[in-house]
């Protein structure tokens, strides 16, 4: 028998209680691994090289706009194959709770740019030829029970019409989807020209351009050329990957890192209270045993360290399992999240930080019981 096996045996004297505590700590560290992935993804830049599609957006704020006239200048940049554009329309269908992205786009250019999306040729023709036409993802049509030919009312919040009305209506002319094993689209698409002619303000502008490059390995250089083109203009740009743009958009909602850290803080505070309570309860039941250990020669320090060791082992084992599970789940989710936030993986830095946090958690939850174990007096405890 070793000290570790003594600690292990003590931990599992109440198997169910220990397993439940272990699972709760494990889940906290699983969450820690996943949220740390998000924080790290938002904290580090996305590598531009290797992508064939870039996004050119206003340099300083996503609420700024770019003139449509930029399009021709971007098309002329060496290395650029095609350019299209989109706007963030906002608005809602029937109820503000029915939220989904809506972009005014140029139909043929958009689907040429996003060639991975599948749309029937006749529906694409209808989209291109219908002024108030719209196409939606198959999933969205199923969700709201829309069929081709339906008229879909959208209430605008950003863009009223020239007559002041916020009521926009579109004719559904088709649906589109991504290949079955790919992340499915969620965006309601309608004609840019319709929006441009009907909007009360911002006509002739776009929110961002999507740029296809000839050589993915030269994507970084192309991005620098585009941004250099507008550096001195009234509308400077920032060109990056689609994933980087998604992250910028998420960051408009708030400080993602701070929010994730807040969630983690709440989770770990709860786990700390839960585990500390369990450890204290376990200790109270064993006071006579601790007195016996002291009787046969264990010092106050060694008994105290034994109890602290139990908390440390519990938290480290649960932490390590949680981090391992987090790494596995991250690997599974990574392909699905790549387009949204870029790299999603559990780094060695997260593992080291997690193990350090597990050790700290063990020390904090074990400190009280260890101190109490140290204070146990043999004569009093044995008399009880």
């Amino acid at each position: 028998m070793s000290w570790l096996s003594l600690i292990w045996a003590n931990l599992f004297r109440h198997r169910v209680r220990t397993i439940l505590t272990l699972v709760s700590v494990l889940v906290a560290f699983l969450l820690f691994a996943l949220l740390r992935n998000v924080i790290e993804s938002f904290a580090t830049g996305i590598e531009i090289a290797g992508v064939d599609r870039l996004v050119t957006a206003p340099k300083y704020s996503m609420v700024d706009r770019l003139p449509l006239a930029h399009l021709q200048q971007i098309e002329a940049v060496d290395g650029v194959v095609a350019v299209t554009h989109a706007n963030w329309f906002g608005g809602y269908y029937q109820d503000p709770a029915n939220f989904f992205p809506k972009y005014p786009v140029r139909p043929r250019e958009w689907f040429a740019m996003y060639s991975e999306y599948r749309i029937a040729p006749e529906q694409l023709d209808a989209f291109a030829n219908t002024r108030d036409g719209a196409v939606v993802p198959v999933g969205l049509a199923e969700q709201y029970g829309w069929k081709v030919g339906d008229r879909i009312p959208i209430t605008a919040d950003i863009y009223p019409k020239k007559d002041g009305s916020r009521h926009w209506e579109f004719e559904l002319v088709g649906t589109y989807s991504a290949p079955p094993d790919e992340p499915q689209p969620v965006t309601f698409l309608f004609q840019y020209d319709y929006w441009d002619q009907a909007t009360q303000h911002s006509a002739g502008t776009v929110a961002w351009f999507v740029v296809k490059v000839a050589d993915p390995d030269a994507a970084g250089e192309v991005a620098r050329r585009i941004d250099a083109l507008f550096e001195q203009s009234r509308n400077p740009t920032r060109t990056s990957t689609e994933a980087e743009r998604q992250r910028q958009f998420a960051n408009q909602v708030g400080d993602i890192g701070l929010m994730m850290s807040g969630i983690l803080g709440a989770v770990f505070f709860t786990i700390l209270l839960l585990t500390a309570n369990t450890m204290s309860q376990g200790l109270r039941e064993r006071i006579p045993e601790l007195a016996v250990l002291k009787t046969i020669g264990f010092t106050d320090d060694s008994v105290s360290l034994l109890v602290l060791g139990e908390a440390l082992v519990l938290c480290l084992v649960a932490g390590a399992l949680g981090l391992a599970l987090g790494a596995y789940v991250s690997a599974v989710l990574a392909p699905l999240l790549e387009s949204a936030i870029g790299v999603f993986e559990t780094s060695w830095r997260t593992v080291a930080l997690g193990l350090g946090l597990a050790a700290l958690l063990g020390l904090v939850v074990g400190a009280g019981p260890a101190l109490n174990a140290r204070r146990v007096t043999i004569v009093d405890a044995l008399r009880e």
Partner: protein, 237 residues
């Protein structure tokens, strides 16, 4: 023969609220090496307190406690713990085994404090279990053993570090007569064949008959020595 236990002018008082309770009062006692001494007396007479002082579990309020040549009243708590590990083996009425450990691991516990290798520790624990005739129950947990068997495991644990003195507090108090006789026979063997000095608190006169000497305590003072034995022991109170 030299005194294994020497107590001179020992007093012990406890505070109970505002009241001071005098448990032992100016007590002198010498127990020779190799003696088997039974301590008897009514409840509250101070038997367990005396045992605690001899076993180094408690400090006297006044007086000298010397066991195995060591003045215990001068040792710090940690030094006393280390001393206990080397010199004293404890046997309790309710066995006080760790329920999560097998018999052999319970016996091995005191050896965790030594520099012995894991293999040596296990070997010694098995030898101690063999002495109490329980080697075949080595892997059983306390809950799987009878009361008598648990007490034998507790005796093996008390023996395993080869202490000078065995301190037994009502070792048969929770056992049926047959198991009690086995335990008392075992203690006799340890005293006679292995030379262990044994000090045993008991309420049971039949248990006391197994000792070489019997001391009676009453109201914190030693009253009389009722059994004569081959080993010299002097009592004064």
């Amino acid at each position: 023969m030299a005194a294994m236990v020497h107590l001179a002018g020992v007093s012990k008082a406890y505070r109970r609220g505002k009241e001071t309770v005098q448990v032992l009062d100016d007590l002198d006692l010498d127990v020779a090496e190799g003696d088997f001494l039974a301590l008897m007396g009514p409840s509250g007479s101070g038997k367990s307190t005396l045992l605690n002082l001899i076993g180094g579990l408690d400090h006297p309020t006044d007086g000298v406690v010397e066991v195995a040549g060591q003045r215990l009243d001068r040792l710090s708590a940690s030094a006393l713990a280390r001393w206990r590990a080397r010199h004293i083996g404890f046997v309790f009425q309710f066995y006080n085994l760790l329920p999560v450990l097998s018999a052999v691991r319970n016996v091995e516990l005191p050896l965790l404090l030594t520099r012995l290798s894991r293999r040596e520790r296990r070997q010694r624990a098995l030898t101690a279990l063999d002495i109490v005739n329980l080697a075949d129950r080595a892997s059983h947990k306390p809950g799987e053993l009878s009361g008598g068997q648990q007490q034998r495991v507790a005796i093996a644990r008390a023996l395993v570090a080869d202490p000078s003195v065995l301190v037994c507090d009502e070792p048969t108090g929770d056992l049926d007569r047959e198991s009690a006789d086995q335990i008392l026979g075992l203690l006799e063997v340890l005293n006679r064949d292995h030379g262990k000095t044994i000090i045993m608190v008991t309420h049971d006169p039949r248990a006391a008959e197994h000792a070489r000497h019997v001391l009676h305590l009453d109201k914190g003072r030693l009253r009389r020595l009722t059994a004569a034995g081959a080993v010299a022991g002097t009592v004064s109170s």
